[in-house]
Symmetry: C2
Subunit: 468 residues, 2 copies
């Protein structure tokens, strides 16, 4: 259990809290049944403790969120903001006695503007819902986390989440132009803009993106959109070693190509997928690379990338002829995590990002760590970004295996830092990596980050125990 | 004169300050001759008062910058960081008795890495120097302010500056991955990363970008690079009204095109350029639109954009056949500011950015304001961004005309806000627009921004009197 660090105001008890919340929220928006509230305790991370919420609120309006925050401030009750709880770092886990503030009912798309190429949305809009809605206007919202059919834009903003698109289109942060934020004390603040450019004052918008609900509650976002690109065409390349596949990645990126996707699966992942889905990938495949282009004429790029893969030692290069074949090739990638889960029942997904020139060193190091701890660790990577997801497979019922899993998870982060990387490319810090944040950004950085937190949340009620 | 708001520590006088600075800086890096230091008082903005620096320092190392900041903190002396002083908002103007901290001697490119697509640079590197250096590796650093042959990367970061490239490539902020910053008290802090992605902790990198030297001194930057695109091909279109040209801009952007440049000159600017350079633009041209594409095959886009211009009422559409013709067409745009300066001797360049769907309303409003104040105001615009530079032409020797110029300048900002825009798309707030910042971001925003400033600069010695 994570204990709240906030000293409760004298008059706080659950009854009073609920009563005060009900003064500004409809009854159906305030959940107190412990069986129900317990179901809001966790996101999808392993190894992250969670407390028991005092209450779960589901506001539908900005004013209701303001009421929740005013109440929380008055009673000194911690508030844990939540989207769809698909996060992988425990960032949305409840703390004992907290208000879980679920933004899932604020799910309206308020505006889609094809001339200004923006959408204005509430935080509870599902990523896939927005993607499809803007698609109908010929527009494209690139960020595509694996959980895109479930996760919310608010959650994506909280964690600055990424996806397969990032090698060409970047992470969520790139698409957030402006925010409406309810501050800890209930006041409403607007940041940013709805114009293509704007540099008036400090960039508080970007400060909120990736702040994991620790600075304020995002209640509205202005998002930048791109024109819908042509459907991407995929090429798959098999390699006899991970090193050769990483060499190909370096050649592709140094060669000036801009793939819309550049994914790598290591031998462990390829084997797991083969075992699960009988996809007929050859046993000799030690690494599989998938590259795609979404330009009007992808043929020259695909040919050049195929040649670069062969020069790097690819044993087979398979370009797709059309969108349907491309989808087939991507199936293996999409099945990776499910397949790795099947290995030992549970997985712990790391999120280390290294300079792409060090990708080969990272994968080699992970193999070493897996051998040392006698564990299966598969690596799937957004290779074009150097963003790897080493996935530790373990049996949660086996205490020693669980301990070794956690140790190897940490050793992978240490290796990432050693290679000039970061402990998190797109999943966030949450509870899972907070000891590691300090190692990455150093004591001066931590001191300044804490001071910034203090500015926005002087009482420390916003998602306490996360990040720091 | 801008008076410093800092109460001087008891032991401060210029002699002591200089002596202390010389303890950690070579003699040639400390300038005290008032004739010399006076030449560092201003950037390129009109109507911005400047004070007399006590001393100008030109450090060459991070340690020297740390020494300057430690000294400034000990003596409570304000520090005004400067790049090449090409800014247009007075953000680099000296305050009385300050240390001008010129970063121009820290001008080394430390690394260019084509696989990781990054450059690591010191702040004094000239934008064009970097652009050419990365070009030799087949790479591209997009931000291209008009002053690119003179301005420094540090200055670009301070103001989050833009340029002609932004409609496709965005502003400087998009290209800053990580920073080394010397804090007000002389401590060194690293922010961000050298990886393609990274979401560990609050995004302090972006907080520093555009902070106009008010939060710390950038001494090193990791910059993202793109592959060098093909040379762009330009199309020029003449219109019988600004409204028709703006309609064309909306059709182009709603049509899903991604031009590498989309610039507009209004009738006043066209006439000024014609008068200056005898370019033979027809007298009937009320607006000139320039669009460019830098894709491998720009022909289909250029044809489609030409057709959209004609549908919007273009009187003539002139596509360039090659790069040389493209350069000729861009000449008119490049001469705009020089031509407008020639009208009355002095100009005051505004920087209002509106949603591009409101571009026509902005230009029409500027015409109304020009008429009301009996002034010549030419509009050149990064039309694809909605970022306009209404340029007020006036005779600085004529007090009444100067007053009307300032009034019209302010009225243009008010109009921009009314249209859902921002007071600055790429030039920054500085001294020129600080009263306007509060109007744009509101009292809560200003309060939080001031509190953030307080975190990084508790003594208020960093570029005082700017932004707020």
């Amino acid at each position: 259990m994570i204990m709240s660090r906030i000293e409760a105001a004298p008059d706080q008890d659950r009854g009073d809290l609920t009563e005060r919340l009900l003064a500004g929220l409809p009854a159906e928006a305030v959940l107190t049944d412990p069986d129900v509230t317990a179901s809001y305790a966790n996101d999808m991370a392993s190894f992250c403790p969670a407390g028991a919420p005092a209450v779960v609120v589901l506001p539908r309006t900005v004013e209701e969120v303001q009421h929740v925050m005013r109440t929380a401030t008055a009673l000194r009750v911690p508030v844990v903001p939540q989207g769809a709880r698909t996060g992988l770092s425990g960032g949305a886990n409840a703390t004992d006695g907290c208000i879980v503030l679920s933004l899932t009912k604020m799910d309206r798309i308020l505006e889609i503007n094809p001339v200004d190429r923006i959408a204005v949305v509430e935080p509870g809009v599902i990523n896939a819902t927005l993607s499809r809605a803007v698609g109908e206007h010929g527009l494209y919202y690139p960020p595509d986390p694996s959980s895109w059919e479930m996760c919310t834009i608010g959650g994506n903003i909280g964690t600055a989440s990424g996806g397969l698109c990032c090698v060409k289109y970047g992470v969520t942060a790139e698409y957030v132009l402006g925010l409406d934020v309810v501050l800890a004390d209930g006041r409403l603040m607007s940041t940013g803009r709805r114009t293509a450019k704007g540099v008036a004052g400090y960039d508080l918008t970007r400060l909120f993106v990736g702040s994991e609900g620790s600075l304020g509650i995002v209640v509205r976002a202005v998002l930048a959109l791109k024109p819908q690109p042509p459907r991407q065409l995929v090429l798959a390349a098999e390699f006899a070693s991970a090193a050769a596949a990483c060499d190909a990645v370096c050649r592709i990126m140094a060669g000036g190509h801009v793939p819309s996707l550049l994914e790598l699966m290591d031998r462990t992942t390829v084997k797991a997928v083969n075992d699960l889905a009988h996809m007929g990938l050859p046993e000799t495949t030690e690494a599989l690379l998938l590259a795609a282009f979404d330009t009007p004429d992808p043929a020259p790029d695909l040919a050049a990338v195929g040649a670069l893969c062969e020069a790097a030692g690819a044993t087979q290069v398979v370009p797709a002829d059309d969108a349907a074949e491309s989808e087939l090739l991507l199936q293996a990638r999409r099945l990776s995590l499910t397949a790795l889960e099947a290995v030992r029942g549970v997985t712990m997904i790391d999120d280390v990002c290294v300079p792409r020139s060090r990708l080969g060193d990272l994968i080699e190091g992970v193999e070493r760590i897996a051998e040392k701890h006698q564990l299966t660790i598969g690596v799937v990577a957004h290779a074009g970004d150097g963003n790897t997801h080493p996935t530790v497979c373990f049996d949660a019922a086996d205490a020693d295996e669980s301990r070794r899993a956690r140790e190897s998870f940490d050793e992978i982060m240490a290796l990432g830092l050693e290679l000039g990387g970061t402990i998190t490319g797109e999943h966030g810090v949450g509870v899972l990596k907070k000891e590691w944040l300090a190692r990455e950004i150093g004591p001066v950085g931590i001191e300044m980050q804490r001071a910034v937190k203090q500015v926005f949340d002087p009482l420390g009620i916003l998602n306490p125990g996360k990040l720091f």
